[in-house]
């Protein structure tokens, strides 16, 4: 693991005896003690994740708003300063470059938070398409460290530990805060289906915050729990539910793609051409016999191969063998009987919706 990059919290993970594995070129904590306990801490109390490996790219300048509109599928034009929005960047053919959060600092200054595994690809792609725009594009991933604090007690824990009151911060809003002379950017966002926050700051601040949250019994959580949590909330992971070969429509994320607006973002025409007539799409699957549907497993209708699992677990909170799967039409209809091939055995199941779990976002305060 010598050649791997380390986040500023690496030594703290090692001290906590985390199982470290390579992820996106970083040595990252997969699990500290138990994925199950970490997962449940987030669902029932509060957990924290080192997500310093995530990429941050700034787009600023006179044409920043117009340029972000051109490369982003969701509606940026109505964002106000201090608001965050989720969406994708697409290739001309509708395949996904990456899925990301866009933070609007002001109309001439946007922060794009992208997947760690895609940072250089994203940066290059953003630069390549910017010729006709007066914008400055910077990859500032090295300067932004990040901790996600997630769970129903996240707000309370941050108040107790950092003396920062986030009560008035709306869902998908962000603001700047001071902490011991450090500057923090905090948003009410996350990747778990729970209420929670993402804190961006310098290395020194993040190291301090990690220790203080740990003292206040916020459970450190690894990438293992991060994946089981986002999966139950049916949130996509690039490389699984989204990729250069999967359009957002096929992935079932039409909500984050504004085809009816007058903004011509890259990839829009391909998606309009693809239209409602999808030959395949990602659906939910539930097995009716005890087994575990895992990524890559084949899905059959009788003897016919109709798709594969993109992510699946014996779900910790729902306590059922469930999965997301890319399935060919017409087998995408709810209650279609399917089989998942598990170690050469055909395990029966059905197609279902992806609402595995009720999300518990706090939307009381909004934009």
């Amino acid at each position: 693991m010598e050649n791997l990059k380390k986040t500023c919290l690496y030594d703290k993970h090692v001290e906590l005896n985390a199982k470290m594995e390579e992820f996106a070129g970083f040595s990252m904590p997969i699990v500290y003690d138990s994925i199950k306990n970490e997962h449940l801490a987030v669902r029932n109390a509060a957990g924290m994740f080192d997500v310093s490996h995530m990429g941050e790219i700034i787009v600023k300048g006179k044409d920043a708003l117009a340029y972000v509109e051109k490369i982003f599928t969701n509606k940026v034009s109505t964002l106000i300063d201090g608001q965050v929005i989720y969406g994708m960047m697409l290739y001309e053919n509708g395949g996904v470059v990456d899925d990301l959060l866009v933070y609007r600092l002001n109309s001439e200054y946007f922060l794009l938070v992208v997947n760690a595994s895609n940072v250089s690809k994203d940066y290059n792609w953003i630069v390549e398409n910017s010729n006709d725009y007066e914008v400055l594009i910077q990859n500032v991933s090295e300067d932004y460290q990040e901790i996600a604090v997630q769970g129903p007690e996240a707000e309370k824990k941050i108040l107790e530990a950092l003396n920062i009151n986030l009560q008035d911060l709306g869902f998908f809003m962000f603001a700047n805060y001071e902490y011991k002379n450090h500057h923090l950017l905090i948003s009410r966002t996350g990747y778990t289906g729970e209420d929670g926050f993402e804190i961006y700051a310098s290395e020194e601040a993040i190291r301090d915050i990690w220790d203080v949250l740990l003292k206040h019994e916020v459970t450190p959580c690894g990438l293992g729990a991060r994946d089981t949590l986002r999966f139950e909330a049916a949130l996509p992971l690039y490389g699984h539910e989204l990729s250069a070969d999967i359009t957002p429509l096929e992935a079932g994320f039409k909500f984050f793609v504004k085809l009816d607006s007058d903004i011509d973002f890259i990839g829009k025409n391909a998606l309009i051409a693809q239209g409602e007539d999808l030959s395949r799409r990602i659906v939910g699957i539930e097995l009716t016999e005890k087994s575990i549907p895992r990524e890559g497993y084949e899905v059959y209708h009788n003897d016919l191969l109709i798709g594969h699992i993109t992510t699946g677990y014996l779900s910790i909170s729902v306590e059922k063998p469930i999965a997301m799967a890319m399935i060919n039409r017409p087998y995408t209809k709810k209650n279609t009987e399917i089989f998942v091939k598990v170690r050469n055995k055909m395990i029966p199941g059905i197609v279902r919706d992806k609402k595995f779990l009720e999300k518990k976002y706090n939307k009381t305060k909004g934009a």
Binding site: K19, I30, V31, S34, I35, K36, H39, G224, D227, T228, K290, S291, I292, R294, Y313, L314, I316, V342, R343
Partner: protein, 126 residues
């Protein structure tokens, strides 16, 4: 440090064999195996009456994150399956040496000679 029990036979694929009589043995997974796996959430086992063959897959132990094949350390006929593990797979995390998977009638005791002693296994997982 992984726990080991003396007097058991160990395979390089992290199963153990405990001889109960002349040709009856219990098969389980080692402490090293359960600790590498993490939270065990599902055990997929064959049925009594089935046969297993040395070095061939006979089922799987699954953690939250991954499925790990079980490889038969010996050949034989399955006399009994530990049904308790079906309802409580996490027992494998708590005590992998008491919570055996299968009781088998050995086909050929000579196969035990190809397995590792506890000392040899301790070296192997170092």
């Amino acid at each position: 440090m992984s726990k080991l029990v003396e007097g058991l036979y160990y395979s390089k694929s992290h199963e153990w064999v405990k001889l109960l009589g002349d040709d009856v043995a219990l098969i389980g997974i080692t402490d090293f195996a359960q600790s590498e796996l993490g939270d065990v959430v599902f055990v997929d086992l064959p049925e009594a009456g089935d046969t297993i063959s040395q070095e061939e897959e006979f089922g799987a132990v699954e953690s939250v994150k991954a499925a790990s094949d079980l490889i038969a350390p010996v050949s034989g006929e399955i006399l009994e399956v530990n049904e308790e593990l079906v309802g409580e797979p996490e027992l494998l995390n708590k005590n992998p040496y008491d919570n055996w998977l299968l009781k088998v009638k050995l086909e050929n005791n000579d196969e035990l000679g190809s397995l590792l002693s506890s000392d040899q296994y301790a070296d192997f997982i170092k």
